[in-house]
C-alpha cells in the first residue's frame, strides 16, 4: 500500500482542532485509481461500456449541455479566484499531500477544459490557463475525480461556497457518457436494478435474514420483535441501507426494537431494500431511477410513511425524492423522513418517558462522527446528538474543526469504498482517525452505512481502539422493552 506522510495533521486538538497541512508532494496519489467498469454492468445501466470513438466531441457537447442545465456548474466554473482558502481543507489532500487533491486544483482540471472550449481564453491556451481535453486530461479526470468523496467540506470554507462535489459530479457524468466509469459504482447500481439493493442480496436471503434476526431476538429478549418483509398495509416502510440487514445487524435490531416498543406496524420491501443511491456518484439518470424505486415500493405496499434508515448519502439523495420522483403528497408528512428525525420526534412526544435506562450504555464513552452527507447536504446535525444525549451518560465531542458542518469525510464516501482505493481511503480518513483518538472514546457512533464499513478498517489502520456502531444501536441498548 502506498505510504503517505504520516505526521499528525491536527495541531492542537484541545483548542479546536486546528490543522497543520502536510508538505506538498506532487503526484503522490496519481497512481491510485479505480478499476474500470465491466461491460455487463454498464450495459445494465444504459452506459457505453468502453471509450466511444468520438469521445472528445461527445464529452465537450455533454459539458456544454450541463453548463446550460446546472447553475452550480456554470457559476462555479467562473467564480473561483484561486484564493487558496480551500487548499488545506480536503481530507484527501491532508492525507496524501498530493496538490491535485486541493479542491481548487481538482476543480481546475475541469475549468481548464471549460476555458478552452467555452470562453475566449481558449484562443490563447497558455496565457488563458486553458487546456485541451485530451487523453492525458481524461486520465487526470479519472484519477482525481474519483479521489473526491463529494463531501462538500471545501464548500464550507470557500468565500463563494464553490462546491467541488458538484464539479466532481459533473465530471463523472461527462465521463460516464463517453464510456468511462468505475467498476465499483456501476456494479452497485446494476445490482440495485437486479436485486433491489447495493449488496446484491436476493429477496429470499433478505427474508431469511429477517426471520433469523426475529428468532434471535425472541431467544435473547423473550419478546416477539419482528422484522416484517413486504407486509402490505404496514404504516411505515423502512428503507434501510442493505448493509444493516447483513453487516450492521445491530442497527437493524435497533429498528426492530424501536418499532416494537412503539407498537407501530412497519415493513421492509424486497423490491427496494436499499436507501443508498449510487446513482448520486455516477449520473443523474441513474440517481433518478434508483430514487424512483423508493416511492414505487411505498405505493406497492400502501405504506403511509417512508422512513430512510441510517445512511448518509441515502439521505442526501433521499431529500431530493420529491424533486426526482414526483410529489409525495399521498404519503403522510413530514417527508422525506429520516429515522433520526423520527426518533427525536418520538422523544419530544414523550414516547420513551420512563423507559430509557441510560446506564445501560455506561460502558461506552461515545463520540459522534457526522457523515459528510447527512451534515452538509442533509441538515442532520442536532438529531443524532439529541438521541445520544438522551440515551447515554457519557458523550464527548471531537474538536470543533472536525464536527458538524466542518466534519471530515470518513474517507470512503462518494463511491470510493472499494479495495483498490485502500491507500486513498486510509489517507483520507486520517484527520477523522486523529480526532477520534483525541477523544479517547470507545464507541464511535454514526448514521451512515458507508462510514460503518470504512471506519472500523480506518481505526485499525491508525490504531485507534474504538468500536463503531449506529446511533439507533445506542437507543436500542438503553430501551427498556415491554
Amino acid at each position: 500500500m502506498a505510504k503517505f506522510d504520516e505526521t499528525p495533521i491536527i495541531k492542537d486538538p484541545a483548542v479546536k482542532g486546528e490543522l497543520r497541512p502536510p508538505k506538498i508532494r506532487e503526484h503522490a496519489s496519481a497512481e491510485v485509481k479505480c478499476h474500470p467498469s465491466k461491460p455487463k454492468d454498464t450495459a445494465a445501466i444504459n452506459l457505453p461500456s468502453e471509450l466511444v470513438p468520438d469521445w472528445q466531441e461527445r464529452a465537450i457537447a455533454r459539458f456544454g449541455e450541463l453548463l446550460d442545465k446546472n447553475q452550480a456548474l456554470r457559476v462555479y466554473m467562473d467564480a473561483c479566484v484561486r484564493c487558496g482558502a480551500c487548499t488545506d481543507k480536503c481530507q484527501f489532500f491532508l492525507g496524501t499531500g498530493d496538490p491535485q487533491n486541493f479542491p481548487v486544483a481538482r476543480a481546475e482540471l475541469m475549468r481548464k477544459v471549460y476555458r478552452r472550449y467555452f470562453t475566449p481564453a481558449g484562443l490563447v491556451p497558455g496565457l488563458g490557463d486553458a487546456a485541451d481535453f485530451d487523453e492525458e486530461m481524461l486520465q487526470k479526470w479519472y484519477t482525481y475525480f474519483y479521489q473526491c468523496s463529494e463531501c462538500r467540506r471545501c464548500s464550507v470554507f470557500c468565500p463563494y461556497g464553490i462546491d467541488t462535489a458538484e464539479i466532481t459530479a459533473a465530471a463523472r457524468e461527462i465521463m460516464a457518457s463517453i464510456g468511462i466509469s468505475t467498476k465499483y459504482v456501476t456494479e452497485v447500481v446494476a445490482k440495485v436494478y437486479e436485486t433491489g439493493n447495493n449488496l446484491g442480496i436476493p429477496p429470499l436471503a433478505w427474508i431469511d435474514n429477517s426471520e433469523f434476526l426475529a428468532e434471535d431476538m425472541e431467544e435473547i429478549t423473550g419478546l416477539p420483535i419482528q422484522f416484517p418483509v413486504d407486509e402490505e398495509g404496514a404504516d411505515i416502510l423502512l428503507i434501510p441501507p442493505s448493509a444493516d440487514n447483513f453487516a450492521n445487524t445491530d442497527t437493524m435490531i435497533g429498528y426492530g426494537k424501536l418499532f416494537h416498543f412503539l407498537g407501530v406496524s412497519w415493513t421492509t420491501s424486497t423490491y427496494c431494500n436499499e436507501a443508498g443511491n449510487f446513482g448520486l456518484f455516477l449520473n443523474f439518470e441513474n440517481l433518478q431511477k434508483v430514487n424512483q424505486r423508493m416511492l414505487e415500493a411505498g405505493r406497492q405496499l400502501g405504506a403511509k410513511t417512508i422512513i430512510w434508515g441510517e445512511c448518509g448519502h441515502a439521505w442526501r439523495a433521499g431529500i431530493l425524492t420529491p424533486t426526482l420522483s414526483g410529489s409525495m403528497d399521498d404519503f403522510d408528512p413530514p417527508y422525506p423522513y429520516h429515522i433520526s428525525q423520527y426518533i427525536v420526534d418520538m422523544f419530544r412526544k414523550g414516547a420513551f418517558e420512563g423507559h430509557i435506562d441510560k446506564s445501560a450504555n455506561d460502558e461506552f464513552l461515545v463520540t459522534y462522527h457526522d457523515p459528510c452527507n447527512s451534515a452538509r447536504a442533509g441538515n442532520l446535525l442536532d438529531e443524532p446528538r439529541e438521541i445520544i444525549r438522551n440515551t447515554c451518560n457519557r458523550f464527548v465531542e471531537m474538536p470543533r474543526n472536525t464536527i458538524r458542518e466542518n466534519t471530515f469525510c470518513c474517507g470512503a464516501g462518494g463511491g470510493l469504498l472499494t479495495d483498490e482505493l485502500m491507500p486513498i481511503r486510509m489517507a483520507g480518513g486520517k484527520p477523522r482517525a486523529e480526532a477520534v483518538k483525541y477523544t479517547q472514546a470507545n464507541y464511535l457512533a454514526t448514521v451512515c452505512a458507508i462510514c460503518k464499513a470504512q471506519l472500523p478498517e480506518l481505526m485499525k489502520y491508525w490504531e485507534v481502539p474504538v468500536q463503531v456502531g449506529g446511533v439507533i444501536d445506542l437507543l436500542a441498548n438503553s430501551l427498556k422493552l415491554k
Partner: protein
Amino acid sequence: MSTSDILWTLLSLFFIGLAYFATFAFVAGLLWRLYGYLRTPMPLPHSLTPAPKTEGGAVLRVLGDVTLFPNLFKADKWLWAGAWIFHAALVSVLFRHLRYFTYPVPGIVLYMEPVALFFGILFGVAALFLFWRRLGLPRTLYISNIPDYFILVLLGLVAATGLMVSYWMHVNIVDVKSFILGLMTFRLVEVPRHPLFLLHLFFILVLMIYFPFSKLMHAGGIIFSPSRHQPFQVQVRGKRYKNPVERY
C-alpha cells in the same frame, strides 16, 4: 497645428474610442454573463447545510457573504483580513471617483477627501500582500497561474498610477473632469495632456474589457452560488422543488 497637437488629437481619438469600447465590453459582457447565471436552472435543491429555512434567510446569507466574507474568516484569518481590506478599500476608492463623474459632486464624496489617500494606499498595500501571499505560500504558488498574477499586477498598476497623479505628479483635475464629462455627454474633448494619467486610464480600460471574461466574475458569481442562495426547504409541505430541467 503643431506635430504635438496632432499627436494629442490622435491620442484623444484613440482613448475616446477605447473608452467607449471598454464601457460597451464591460456592460454588455457583464450583463451577458449575469444573464447566463440567472437563466441557468438548478436541477436539484442544493443548499449547503446547516442552512436558512426561508428565502429571506437565504438572502441574508448571501448578503453576509458579499459584505463580510464569513467563510474566508473561518478558513484563513490572514487571507480574510487581506481580502476584506482589499475589497473595502477598492469600494471606497471607486466611490471617491464619483467626483470625476458627477456634477455637482455629492457632499459625501467630498467629505471623504481627507481620508482618500489612506484608502488608496491601503488598497495598494493589500494588493501587494495578496501578491506576496500567492508567491510565498507553496499551496497558493501551486495553484496560481498567469491570469492570477496578471490581474493583481494590473490592479497594482492602476493603484500606483492613480496615487501618483493624485498626490505627486498632479494632473489637472479640471481637464480630467471635462474629458470624462465629455465622454459621458458624447462630446469630443481632448484627453488631459498628462502621460501618467493616460497610463492610469489605459490600465482601467484594459481591466474593464477583461472583467467579464475573467475570474473577476466572482463579483457576480457570489450572488448566484446555489449552495448559498438556496434555502433548505426539502421537508416543507407545499415547497416541493420541481426540477426545471426537462432532460438532464
